[in-house]
């Protein structure tokens, strides 16, 4: 009797949790639709997006460049020690480039982007909510979804693929630095093997598609968490944490799905 009651309670609370999640997903979709599918006002929208591109994109550049460089160098080093056993250390360039372009550039850039830009977006929007700045925009007759949310979403979509490409390029040079300058791989073969192996559509374009999808997911999560945050200091800190945790998990899960779709049919 008692146990069956507990089970029923458990099922009921699971159901409630599911409904809450569905309602959250619905609200998040509404945010996206309202923010993106509106007629832009050319005069202001453009400059707002540019400002956010600076906040979201340019300010993330340093961490992306530094990480790209080190990851490229590690790839060069690891690749060389593996390949030298097979006497094929001259193709280390191919390994560095393919790992970066297909996987590491979009994924690591996205993880860093979630920590650097996503968390900042959530905190900023959450604080605007807590201090009634969003309410006061509404009362002035300005829709915060258009004014605050839309430019941040666009800036996220646009800057992620660019940052990811920068990551890949810096990484390839990092790999070159280690394998050519330090380990003595012939520079001509590093570059020519790479050129021969990397395909524009199969590798570069797929990498860019991944970056766009990740950018979309991160900014959407970040903006939504900010809007839904409980307007207290504790609430904002929880939302910021959630942004980073949810984004990271979704990036890794989406990466598997996308990789399976793109490279799965061997």
């Amino acid at each position: 009797m008692n146990i069956s009651n507990k089970i029923m309670d458990g099922i009921a609370s699971m159901g409630r949790g599911l409904l809450d999640n569905l309602a959250g997903l619905g609200r998040a979709s509404m945010v996206l639709v309202h923010a993106l599918f509106v007629w832009p006002q050319p005069k202001t929208s453009f400059s707002l997006v540019v400002k956010q591109l600076y906040n979201v994109g340019v300010k993330s550049l340093l961490i992306i460049v530094v990480s790209g460089l080190f990851i490229g160098m590690v790839l060069g080093l690891q690749g060389y020690t593996i390949l030298v056993d097979f006497g094929s250390e001259q193709s280390v360039g191919q390994m560095v480039a393919l790992s970066l372009v297909r996987e590491l550039a979009p994924v690591v850039t996205a993880l860093l982007f979630a920590g650097r830009a996503g968390s900042a977006l959530t905190a900023e929007i959450g604080l605007m909510k807590a201090t009634e700045q969003l309410a006061s925009l509404e009362m002035i007759g300005v829709d915060p979804l258009r004014r605050i949310v839309a430019p941040r979403l666009w800036a996220g979509f646009i800057s992620m693929p660019i940052l990811s490409m920068i990551f890949a390029i810096v990484g390839v040079y990092g790999g070159a630095l280690v394998s050519i300058e330090w380990l003595g791989v012939f520079s001509g073969s590093y570059w020519s093997v790479m050129q021969g192996a990397v395909d524009f559509y199969d590798d570069i374009l797929n990498g860019v598609i991944k970056a766009v999808v990740f950018g979309f997911a991160i900014t959407w999560i970040a903006v939504y968490q900010g809007l839904e945050s409980v307007p207290t200091s504790e609430g904002i800190s929880q939302s910021t944490t959630r942004t980073v945790v949810y984004s990271s998990l979704i990036i890794l899960a989406l990466d598997f799905v996308l990789t399976a779709l793109m490279f799965g049919d061997v």
Binding site: L127, T131, E132, Q133, A135, S136, M139, I140, G141, D143
Partner: protein, 273 residues
């Protein structure tokens, strides 16, 4: 007697926050071109009422009509159009933290009008002059005191010369001089421009001196309505307690709670939520 048109009508409003009933049955008419004050104990729902007039909250039952149209029935687009005719001074000020004082006041003008920048500049300086803060135009909100921030917010609320201005505690945190200036300013704006003003305030004397009509809310209903004179002369115990500030009387000072002695003597450690 002249027929006074009500620009805002609140009919049989009911509203709850969770289990707590905020409005049981509120009926208030706000006539065009007049200053109407809404008073009541802290937590009685005055700010909530302003948010309903602005369409940021929707009533559970009853209706809020602005210009004869139900606010809750408006589409998102119509709602934003309606708000352009309203100015609201938020209780917290709610200045945009990344903009200077000047840009805060200019914001409603730049987004809602096609005025020349030089004209906007003149209007902004005029509004800041009116609240005594022209010299602070270049400061950021974080560099202002609480009272100054509220005056900037007031300047922003009236920047567009809206038809309806709602002031949520405009006098809070003002020194006696600032208070006098703001009282005169609100009165002057109302007379010269014909704004309809809705004021929430706890400053009884200032409010009674400028308001044409006063409504006192307590416990989810309007307990008294009338002109300043009628309120002063009211025989109602609630009204007398409220305007004279007696702690004991029919209006409770405390948020609903269990019996104090019982809670002190009780076994339970902690507080019910």
């Amino acid at each position: 007697m002249a027929i006074i048109e009500n620009i805002i009508e609140i009919n049989h409003l009911k509203f709850r926050r969770g289990d707590r009933v905020i409005f049981k049955d509120i009926n208030i008419n706000i006539p065009q071109g007049k200053i109407t004050a809404i008073m009541g104990p802290s937590g009685s729902g005055k700010t909530t009422l302003l948010k309903m007039i602005g369409g940021q909250l929707s009533p559970e039952q009853g209706e809020v009509l602005v210009g004869g149209v139900s606010v809750a029935g408006l589409s998102r687009k119509e709602l934003f159009a309606m708000r352009k005719k309203m100015g609201m001074l938020f209780q917290s000020g709610a200045l945009f933290s990344e903009m200077s004082v000047f840009d805060n006041v200019a914001f409603p003008l730049t987004v809602n009008t096609d005025l020349e920048p030089s004209l906007i500049r003149d209007i902004v300086l005029m509004k800041l002059q009116a609240v005594g803060l022209r010299g602070a135009a270049g400061l950021m909100p974080s560099e202002l005191s609480g009272g100054m921030a509220r005056r900037v917010a007031l300047a922003r609320a009236i920047a567009l010369d809206p038809e309806i201005v709602m002031y949520d505690e405009p006098f809070a945190g003002q020194d006696p001089i600032g208070m006098g200036v703001l009282v005169t300013l609100i009165k002057k704006l109302n007379q010269s421009l014909g704004h309809t003003s809705v004021i929430i305030s706890h400053d009884i004397q200032e409010t009674l001196s400028i308001a044409d009509y006063i409504h006192i809310m307590a416990d989810g209903v309007v307990v008294a309505s009338g002109t300043a004179r009628e309120i002063r002369e009211s025989r109602s115990a609630e009204v007398q307690q409220f305007i004279n500030g007696h702690p004991d009387g029919p209006v409770p000072f405390h948020y609903p709670a269990e019996n104090f002695m019982q809670q002190l003597m009780g076994e339970k450690v902690g507080i019910d939520r």
